[in-house]
């Protein structure tokens, strides 16, 4: 367990000095209380350059605005309840679990610690008065990806490789993708394949190859380690794909048209600060999108400076910008259901 705020072996005199300084600060600063405390629980290592690294950015961001932040890595499902309880007992105001799997553990212990706000990253529901799920608006970004795919396809066939059919955020992104593509080309064929594991890159590649063999020339998807398989297939066969991080653009600079880069640091810090300021965040399911204040939840980014691959013509880029504008001012709202995300054509 690594904790940012763990006691370092300071000398006694330095401790005394810090204490004195703290006392002075307290006197001069008046009634302002101690720093707010937030804890982050991550399912993997913060160095993974992907999901966990993104979650840890939230801790860094809160630390930068003066919060007292602790974190624990590699929290296994069996240990979730204990890890959560541990922080809640130490009066952490906000405890973040950085995967949807934290939801049931938080539902269980939430009622025991009413003063703590429990946040589930990529969760699918709020619970009680103090368990909140947050996610980015998968529907909006899936929809825009569908429009991009439909505009860039020459064959009139596009595909998507995913896992966990029926999971709310998967339904939202895949359904959004299909609706987005059909919104600009009603006759386009959108084929969706579900594979067994988000992490199996070899299987994802086979699924993508089967779509390409069927004529698809844009492959989308929302997988973890498996996303690499989609991109490898697109690269080998000379078709387009979308990734989830800048690293994916680097694997196949010609095949990847853009990435849906999730902004967990914004979402976590925004939610935590809102709770500290005014409370009332508990028990909700909060979606960050282009139309929400504080964070857009995610963004389309090809690399650090460009939103799209230079191969995307200006007319299509403009169309996507117009779409973003419509989502932002609320004039476009997309609702998807399970049927929109069904497997097959």
């Amino acid at each position: 367990m690594s904790v940012l705020t763990k006691d370092s072996p300071t000398s006694r005199s330095r401790a005394a000095f810090v204490g004195l300084f703290g006392l002075c600060a307290a006197i001069f600063a008046g009634p302002a209380g101690a720093a707010e405390k937030a804890a982050f629980l991550l399912p993997g290592s913060i160095n993974d350059q992907s999901w966990n690294a993104q979650g840890y950015q939230g801790a860094e961001k809160l630390k930068a605005v003066g919060w007292d932040v602790a974190y624990t890595e590699n929290v296994q499902v069996a240990d979730m309840v204990e890890a959560l309880r541990d922080y809640a007992r130490k009066d952490y105001k906000v405890v973040v679990g950085h995967t949807g799997r934290f939801l049931s553990a938080m539902e269980r212990i939430g009622p025991d610690f009413p003063k703590t706000l429990f946040i589930v990253g990529s969760g699918s529901a709020g619970a009680g008065t103090n368990v909140t799920s947050i996610d980015y608006d998968n529907t909006q970004f899936g929809f825009m990806m569908g429009v991009l795919a439909a505009r860039m396809s020459r064959t009139g066939k596009i595909g998507s490789v995913n896992s966990l059919e029926g999971l709310p955020n998967v339904v939202a992104q895949v359904g959004g993708f299909r609706k987005g593509a059909k919104s600009v080309r009603p006759d386009i064929e959108v084929k969706v394949i579900y594979i067994k594991s988000m992490e199996d890159a070899a299987e994802a590649k086979e699924a993508a190859l089967s779509l390409i063999a069927g004529g698809a020339d844009f492959i989308s998807g929302k997988l973890n380690a498996g996303q690499t398989g989609i991109i490898q297939a697109a690269k080998e066969k000379g078709v387009y794909a979308n990734g989830r991080s800048f690293g994916h653009s680097e694997i196949a600079p010609d095949a990847v048209l853009t990435n849906i880069v999730e902004k967990w640091s914004d979402m976590y810090s925004q939610t935590a600060q809102e709770q500290a300021k005014s409370g009332g965040v508990g028990g909700k399911y909060v979606l960050y999108g282009l139309n929400t204040p504080g964070s857009t939840g995610a963004e389309l980014a090809y690399n650090a400076t460009q939103p799209l691959n230079p191969a995307v013509p200006a007319s299509v880029a403009n169309e996507l910008d117009a779409l973003k504008g419509k989502f932002k001012d609320g004039s476009l709202k997309i609702a998807v259901n399970r049927e929109d995300a069904h497997g097959g054509i």
Binding site: Q49, S210, A213
Partner: protein
Amino acid sequence: MDLMMIADLAAATVRISTPLLFAALGGLLSEKAGTFAVGIEGMMLAGAFTGAISAFVFGNVALGFALAALGGAATGSLLAFATARCRADQMVTGLAVNVLVLGLSSFLLRGLFGGRAPVIRLTPPGTWPLPWLSEIPVMGPVLFRQSAIVYLAFLLVVPLTLFLTKTRAGLTLRAVGENPEAAFAAGYDPIRIRMIAIVAGGALAGLGGAVLALQEVGSFTDGMTNGRGFIALAAIMVGRWTPVGAIAGCLIFGFVSALELRAQSWGLPVSSYVMQMMPYCLALALLAGVSRSARLPAAIGVPFIRH
């Protein structure tokens, strides 16, 4: 279903079967000599790991394949020492090795590179179109434009079959699996022969893992074999402990896996979760059918004790 779709299905079947085939042939060697190949998954993963890391560090994919075989063999030697020499339970040891490699590969991936998992990007080796054969209409281009490692997997069956049926060494290996006491009485050392068989099998399984990492994905990800070793184990049984049978077993699983992905677009009123079960349901059904007529090597699972 037109001809192009059949060709595509055949190509996918060959691709999916290749890593399974290496693993199954490796496991076959181990089982023929009397040791259950439960650790095949771990040996595959070890091969995927050492193959990807060495190809990444040395910038040479061929060297990656060679070191993948070494990684699989090293894992096999651990198993060989525990089961043949120390007479540990074969099932428990095999499962323990699988878990060990899963954790160790994830740990080393970070540990070797200063706590930060490196971004591994490898260029998969190109294809070698076979003259004449690759020009057969429709099927030629899909079946005979593969990388060298794919041909190797399928050609390996010939020497392996000859080894097991025609050579003294191969017959001795089988004797150790059937009746180690008799082999011992004839002057052979069953413990040593079993150890060699497990290590050689580990090298083959390691190559199978390397096919995934170096040929298919071009990277290493945690736990990337994802249960393929167990499918290979089933293929050995379905193939009734012969190399040719193992090919058939692997091709059947490869075919059903490829079919499952394509069948999802046929609009059948079946959940994708049911579709994903198809290869495993088939494995169960085939194994249930085979078990009645199965003839395991007689002394498999029984440690040899020198009296």
